[in-house]
């Protein structure tokens, strides 16, 4: 058992490492599935505190105490086996699992022999940074002035289309379809510039915008006729998502480390971490307040034998200037 277990752990870790590439490829190929990359999930400390994907780290590879750590989220693992879990009803159903992280690590000595094992779980008590579930973010998205006006404009364009080129009139069918396609191009994800749309369509759009007092839209296309409406909407949504990265994140977790010669705990840590952005985050730079507290149960060497009788309370409050982009 003593010899087999490290091999078993190595096998599991290898399988998980191989699955990481597989997941990324599957997500891209299936299109509708989310593309979970570390950068798409979070920036800065957020990824260090809580991950929604897989994090694999090789620490101190050339040193005497090598470590191989794997950190993941049970929902991400389940999603790999059942893509239907991404559907909104299931996404909500498994919200507790989405807030949970687990990790385990393998310590090796210079000869790559087993030198200890560590494992832990972490749960997000408060996570206001999740841009997939934030009601605040959704409200902002719906109330975005340009989004509101573009929606109104599209409805007016549909009314104009139905009155100018009636569906029952075979003679105007081609014009009807052309106008509908131009409406699509106005907000397509290819980011078609406004001034490259059909000239008469542009005039119709501007005319309808004037009639309905759509000031934000008019200001945008007047100031920059080559603007893409959809690109502007997407950029605005990106800013909104970035803004909630400043919100509160509070986690609690427990982790343990074993002795190098057997699977008995040498150390148990109960830790909590709170993170809150101070200023508006910018790409690659963020100032955050971090408060860490932990209760560490470890071996009391004054007592005979191995035990966990020594207790250390640790508290740390710091503000960090985070200028890095994680892997």
């Amino acid at each position: 058992m003593k010899n087999r277990s490290p091999k078993l752990l190595l096998t599991i870790l290898t399988a998980l490492v191989l699955s990481v590439n597989g997941v990324a490829q599957n997500k891209v190929s299936q299109g509708e599935l989310p593309v979970y990359t570390a950068d798409s999930l979070a920036i800065g400390n957020y990824k260090d505190i809580l991950t929604s994907f897989f994090q694999l780290a090789f620490n101190n590879l050339t040193g005497p105490n090598k470590e191989l750590n794997f950190n993941s989220n049970p929902f991400a693992v389940m999603l790999r086996g059942n893509p239907d879990l991404a559907r909104d009803v299931n996404y909500y159903k498994y919200r507790a699992l989405r807030k949970l992280n687990f990790n385990f690590g393998l310590k090796l000595d210079t000869s790559y022999h087993f030198n200890g094992f560590s494992a832990g779980i972490k749960y997000a008590l408060i996570n206001e940074r999740d841009s997939t579930t934030s009601k605040f973010l959704f409200k902002n998205l719906q109330n975005d002035p340009l989004n509101v006006e573009v929606k109104q404009l599209k409805l007016k364009l549909l009314q104009y289309l139905n009155s100018t080129y009636p569906a029952g009139d075979p003679a105007s069918r081609a014009q009807r379809i052309a106008f509908s396609q131009a409406m699509d191009s106005l907000t397509d994800t290819d980011y078609t510039p406004f001034n490259t749309l059909d000239t008469s369509f542009q005039k119709t759009v501007v005319s309808i915008a004037w009639q309905n007092n759509l000031r934000t839209f008019l200001a945008l296309v007047t100031a920059n006729p080559g603007v893409s409406i959809q690109q502007t909407l997407d950029a605005s949504f990106g800013d909104m998502k970035n803004a909630i990265k400043n919100n509160l994140l509070w986690t609690i977790g427990i982790s343990d480390t074993t002795y190098k010669d057997q699977y008995a705990f040498s150390n148990i840590v109960i830790a909590t971490e709170l993170s809150k952005g101070i200023f508006k985050p910018k790409p690659g730079s963020n100032l955050e307040l971090n408060i860490n507290a932990s209760l560490n149960f470890t071996d009391d060497s004054l007592r005979v034998g191995r035990n966990l009788k020594r207790c250390i309370l640790y508290f740390d409050k710091c503000s960090t200037q985070n200028n890095r982009r994680n892997i």
Binding site: G31, E32, L33, P34, A86, R87, D88, V89, Y91, Y92, R95, S131, T132, T133, S134, K135, L137, F138, L141, Q142, D144, N147, V150, K151, K154, L155, L158, L161, N162, A167, G168, R173, R176, I177, S180, M183, D184, T187, D188, T189, Q230, L233, D234, F237
Partner: protein
């Protein structure tokens, strides 16, 4: 029923058959009749071929929305046909009756997750895929 011309009527009750012979005869009759019925069914099915790509004069169109990687309630879909609007706030289906060829259904989506919108009648496009954010597009009924 009176016997018709060119028809032989055999009263099985008056023929001395063993149970095995009687069962065998009944099986053969069933097999023959089933074969004839199968041929009739096949003929019926080929006599009225389905009209591929044709849209009836007025039909019901069902638009199905599937939102992924988000919670219910932080997505919205508004589908507009003429002056009729239908909305959804989570994955589901909206229906429009009296849809005709040439009709245009405007779909407007706000979602924190990805959205896949499909329609069950012959339309262009047949499916829309949107990333998170605000998007809109038209279904043209063919």
């Amino acid at each position: 029923m009176a016997a018709k011309k060119n028809q032989i009527v055999i009263d099985l009750g008056k023929i001395a058959l063993t149970p095995v012979q009687r069962q065998k005869l009944q099986n053969e009759i069933h097999k023959t009749v089933a074969g004839q019925m199968g041929a009739i069914d096949a003929a019926n099915s080929t006599s009225t071929p389905a009209k591929v790509g044709a849209t009836p004069a007025a039909i019901t169109a069902n638009i199905q929305a599937t939102f992924t990687n988000t919670n219910p309630g932080v997505s919205s879909l508004t589908a507009t046909l003429n002056s009729t609007q239908k909305t959804l706030s989570q994955s589901g289906t909206v229906s429009f009756t009296g849809v005709q060829s040439g009709d245009i259904i405007l779909v407007q989506v706000d979602s924190l997750g990805s959205a896949t919108i499909t329609i069950d009648v012959n339309a262009t496009p047949a499916q829309m895929n949107f990333p998170p954010g605000s998007h809109s597009k038209n279904f043209i009924i063919n």
